[in-house]
Symmetry: C2
Subunit: 208 residues, 2 copies
């Protein structure tokens, strides 16, 4: 299937937003990057907000598709894989969470949608902790489930932004597996004996 | 003591960076906010980078002064207070951590200093966990101390940025006490019996 001009514009704008930051990239810069005229770009997207809105929508769609698989998570390795895939998507659209302060100020409607997304993520994480608790993977009261859900969603939302604070990470690609392992360490104190083996395996892999 | 023009410029720029974002505020905007001429501002600060650099330095100084008190932390309530004060400072200079992607791209030298600050914070957090372990407040192996230190520093660095993702938080001032309580929940599974009372008190205050 041929890539349409519209898709090429979206791909180029996503790459530029991720690399240079949402604030620094204009529609003119995207057109220049693609070697097309500003008029041609304008035919497809009247404003930068329209481009950002479509990218945000795709990000939501991808996360939603991943969330659909959550019901099948019944063990620690399923959870690790689900987190891994989630971090891959967040890394693909990394400008969204990283540049959220700017995004919410410029495009208040998208800021509200980001909050709704977080609210949904919190409920989903709480349901997931309850589910893991029901299948005996971990032990958590409903109060603890709320706290763990908050910790998990905070981590998935902000971890990639934190990586730039870590010394020696410059230029290195993010490692979704490591990010997923790090998130799992939040629930590790509550994991039941028989589920501990997989966590120990991850520990030897990432802390080794 | 009279406030100097230089100090008024710094205060105004800090307020504007916090409110509108580092990317959106020019030296002209700061001058207009204060009702002084661009030439007058230019006499004190040749570039925006010079203003940001002084603010960053003050932020570092404040955090360093707080870190000096860490050696006296021997109980959970000391730790909660120390975190509370730290979150107050981070909130005062909130643009620094929130707009770090932009800051590090525009001013690479400050990006490197932010990484050095994080490296120092990680070592300090690790020493603190070891200290709490030695005074019997919590039980943590050295491997666990490393993981907990990472979780604590990640949380203090990114929590205020995460708040804007939380539904219903718009316009509300940040609560450093709540942020400190949230950070403490990371170590709560490892806290010894006799230190648990204060955590239960905080829980009733913030989750109640």
């Amino acid at each position: 299937m041929a890539t349409t001009t519209r898709d090429r514009i979206l791909q180029a704008s996503l790459a530029l937003f991720n690399a240079d930051g949402l604030a620094a990239v204009s529609t003119h810069k995207v057109a220049a990057e693609l070697g097309i005229s500003p008029g041609n770009l304008h035919y497809h997207f009247k404003t930068k907000e329209q481009m950002v809105t479509v990218l945000f929508w795709r990000f939501e769609q991808k996360l939603e598709a991943l969330a659909g698989g959550v019901e099948r998570i019944a063990a620690v390795d399923d959870f690790w894989l689900a987190l891994h895939l989630q971090f891959e998507t967040i890394a693909e659209y990394r400008f969204i969470y990283r540049d959220m302060a700017f995004l919410a100020r410029e495009y208040p409607e998208l800021g509200r949608r980001a909050q709704a997304l977080t609210a949904g993520n919190l409920l989903a994480a709480q349901a997931l902790v309850a589910q893991l608790s029901a299948s005996g993977v971990l032990q958590a009261s409903s109060e603890l489930a709320r706290i763990l859900a908050l910790q998990i969603v905070f981590t998935t939302t902000c971890w990639l932004s934190f990586e730039r604070f870590m010394p020696g990470r410059d230029g290195r690609d993010t490692d979704p597996g490591l990010a997923a392992f790090y998130t799992l360490t939040l629930i590790s104190p509550y994991i039941s004996g028989e589920s501990r083996a997989y966590l120990d395996y991850l520990k030897s892999k990432y802390l080794g």
